[in-house]
C-alpha cells in the first residue's frame, strides 16, 4: 500500500484521510490520490477497530453472543440483536409471544429513528452547518430516554433475548412514545427548513456521488444507499420477518442515485418509522413478553441465515452450528462493508469537499465495517 505512494504520477498527491479525521466519524482510513482538488482514486484501509467479533462469538454461548453484536453497529444495537435472536429462534423453532414481537418492532423502529436523527445531524455538521446537530440530538435524546427507562441502557441496551425481550415495557413507555410522536411531527418541518430546502445544501448534494442502479446491485449496496438508486431492497418489505408482513408502510424509493436522493430516502424513512410506531403503539397485545426457553440453548446441526433491515441496510447473520452450545462459525454480513466498497466508484472525479457529502450519505459506522 505504501509503495504505491512513491509511484504516484506527476501532479498527483496522496492524502491520508483518517484514521483521525473529523469527517470519517471514527477510525476509517482512506488513502486518496488527488489531482489538485479532484479525487483520482480512493482506497479504504480498514481494521483500526477490528475486534474479530466473529472469532469471539465462536467461544460464546447463544445467549451471550447477542450482546457483542451491539458493539458492531452501535447506533442500531437493538436491530443487530434482533437479527441474532431471530436466527437462534429460527434454528430452534421457538414460538415468540405476540406481545414480544410488537415490543421488538416498536423498539426497533425507535432505534431506526434515533439512528437516522444522528446521521442527519452529523451529516449537516460534515457539510459545515453545526446547529442541526443539536436540534437532531434534542429529538434523539427523547428516544434514548425512553430506551433507558424500558431497556435499562441508552445505546447498547441488550434488550433482546432468544424467545422475546428481557423485560416488559415500562408503564410510562406508551405515554412517552406518544409524546415523542407529537414532538417529532412538529420538529420534522424544521429539518426541511434548515437543511433540505437550503440552496447551499442542495447544491452540495445534487449530482454528487451518482450510483446507477446496475452499479448499486453489482456493488452489493443495501439500505438507503441502494434505495436512493432505485433498487428495491427493504428486507422488511421483500422478505418480511417478525410481524413486518402485517404492517402498513411504504418502501421509500428514489431514482436519482445521487447524494440528495439518499438523503431524501433517509428523511422519508423516519416518517415511515413513525407511521409504523403509530400503528402499533395503541395495539400492544396482552400476554407474555418472553417465551419459555431452556437455560442452555443448543442449536441443531445445520446452517442458518437471517436477513434484517438495519438503518444502514441489510444485516445478515450466518450461523454454522455443529449441534453444540456455541456456534461453529458465525458471519455477520454488515451493511457498511459493502456500501463502503462503492465509495471509490462514486467519488472518482469529484472534489475533496464532495467526499464529505458522499460519505455522509453512506452513513458509515466504522465498527460495523470492521467488526
Amino acid at each position: 500500500m505504501f509503495e504505491e505512494v512513491a509511484t504516484s504520477k506527476e501532479g498527483e498527491q496522496i492524502i491520508n484521510v483518517g484514521p483521525q479525521h473529523p469527517a470519517t466519524h471514527g477510525v476509517l482510513h482512506l488513502i486518496i490520490t488527488l489531482n489538485g482538488e479532484t479525487i483520482v482514486n480512493l482506497e479504504p484501509n480498514l481494521g483500526y477497530i477490528h475486534r474479530s467479533i466473529e472469532k469471539m462469538c465462536e467461544s460464546l454461548s447463544y445467549r451471550q453472543f447477542i450482546y457483542t453484536t451491539s458493539r458492531m453497529d452501535y447506533l442500531a444495537a437493538h436491530i443487530n440483536n434482533h437479527a441474532c435472536a431471530l436466527t437462534v429462534e429460527k434454528a430452534m423453532q421457538i414460538e415468540i409471544p405476540e406481545r414480544a414481537e410488537v415490543i421488538r418492532i416498536l423498539v426497533s423502529e425507535l432505534t431506526r429513528i434515533a439512528s437516522h436523527e444522528l446521521w442527519w445531524g452529523a451529516m449537516a455538521m460534515d457539510l459545515g452547518a453545526l446547529s442541526p446537530f443539536f436540534y437532531a440530538f434534542r429529538e434523539r435524546e427523547v428516544i434514548t430516554d425512553i430506551m433507558e427507562e424500558t431497556c435499562g441502557a441508552r445505546l447498547t441496551m441488550n434488550y433482546m433475548v432468544p424467545g422475546g425481550v428481557m423485560a416488559d415495557i415500562h408503564p410510562n413507555f406508551v405515554k412517552r412514545v406518544k409524546d415523542f410522536i407529537i414532538q417529532f411531527k412538529s420538529r420534522i418541518d424544521e429539518y426541511d427548513q434548515l437543511v433540505t430546502g437550503n440552496i447551499i445544501f442542495q447544491n452540495r448534494m445534487k449530482n454528487v456521488g451518482i450510483l446507477s442502479k446496475e452499479d448499486a446491485i453489482s456493488y452489493g449496496t443495501t439500505g438507503p444507499t441502494a434505495r436512493g438508486s432505485g433498487v428495491s431492497c427493504d428486507i422488511r418489505k421483500i422478505y418480511p420477518y417478525s410481524i413486518y408482513g402485517k404492517l402498513q408502510f411504504d418502501e421509500v424509493l428514489e431514482t436519482a442515485g445521487d447524494s440528495f436522493a439518499r438523503y431524501l430516502v433517509r428523511v422519508k424513512e423516519m416518517k415511515q418509522s413513525i407511521s409504523i410506531i403509530e400503528q402499533l403503539i395503541d395495539n400492544i397485545p396482552e400476554g407474555d413478553f418472553q417465551a419459555k426457553t431452556k437455560a442452555v440453548l443448543k442449536l441443531p446441526k445445520g446452517e442458518f441465515y437471517q436477513r434484517v433491515e438495519t438503518p444502514r441496510g441489510e444485516l445478515g447473520v450466518y450461523i454454522v452450528s455443529e449441534g453444540g452450545t456455541t456456534p461453529y462459525r458465525i458471519k455477520f454480513r454488515s451493511p457498511g462493508f459493502s456500501n463502503l466498497s462503492a465509495l471509490n466508484h462514486m467519488i472518482k472525479g469529484h472534489k475533496i469537499g464532495d467526499l464529505v457529502a458522499v460519505m455522509g450519505t453512506l452513513d458509515l459506522v466504522i465498527p460495523d465495517i470492521d467488526r
Partner: protein, 159 residues
C-alpha cells in the same frame, strides 16, 4: 429574456431558502427557553435515573446482613466477559451437615458491559443492577469489588 427570468427566479429562490433557515435559527436565538442543557454536576440532587438503569451489579442485603446468594455460579457461567468470580467455602450448619456457601462474590466492574445476563440467570434473585453511574476512580484495583458484605450470610430458607 427567458434567461434573465430564470436567473432572477434562481436568485430569489436561493435568497428565500437562506432566509427560511435564518428565521429558524433566529427563532431559537430569541427564545432562550428552548435551551435544553442539563447542568450535570450541579443537578446531582435532582437527577433521578430510570429505575431500570444498569449502573453496576450489587447484591441485595437485608437488615440482618443476609443475602440470597447460594453460590450456584449461574451468573458466573452466564457472564460473557468473565466479570464475576465466585469463591465458595463449606460451612457446617446447625444440623452438622456440610453446606456450600459463598466466601467471596468478586465482581470486576472494569470488565462489565452491563448486559444484565447475570441478573437474568440468577435463580434466587440475589443480585440486581444499581442505578449508580459515577464509577471513575484513580486506581483500577478499586474497580474489583466484593459484593457480599463482610460477615454476611445466606438467608434461611433460600435454596
Amino acid at each position: 429574456m427567458s434567461f434573465l427570468k430564470t436567473y432572477i427566479t434562481e436568485v430569489y429562490g436561493a435568497v428565500k431558502s437562506l432566509l427560511t433557515g435564518m428565521k429558524l435559527t433566529g427563532y431559537y436565538f430569541t427564545h432562550p427557553k428552548e435551551i435544553i442543557t442539563e447542568e450535570y454536576p450541579d443537578n446531582r440532587l435532582t437527577l433521578k435515573m430510570a429505575d431500570r438503569f444498569r449502573g453496576e451489579v450489587v447484591m441485595k442485603h437485608d437488615d440482618n446482613n443476609e443475602h440470597a446468594c447460594t453460590g450456584c455460579s449461574a451468573c458466573e457461567l452466564a457472564c460473557p466477559n468473565g466479570t464475576i468470580k465466585i469463591i465458595n467455602k463449606f460451612e457446617i450448619n446447625a444440623e452438622g451437615k456440610k453446606k456450600k456457601a459463598i466466601d467471596a462474590f468478586v465482581y470486576h466492574l472494569e470488565l462489565c458491559t452491563m448486559c444484565n445476563l447475570c441478573i437474568e440467570a440468577c435463580p434466587t434473585d440475589a443480585i440486581k443492577m444499581a442505578q449508580t453511574f459515577e464509577h471513575s476512580v484513580y486506581d483500577r484495583r478499586l474497580l474489583t469489588k466484593q459484593l457480599n458484605l463482610p460477615g454476611s450470610k445466606i438467608r434461611e430458607g433460600v435454596e
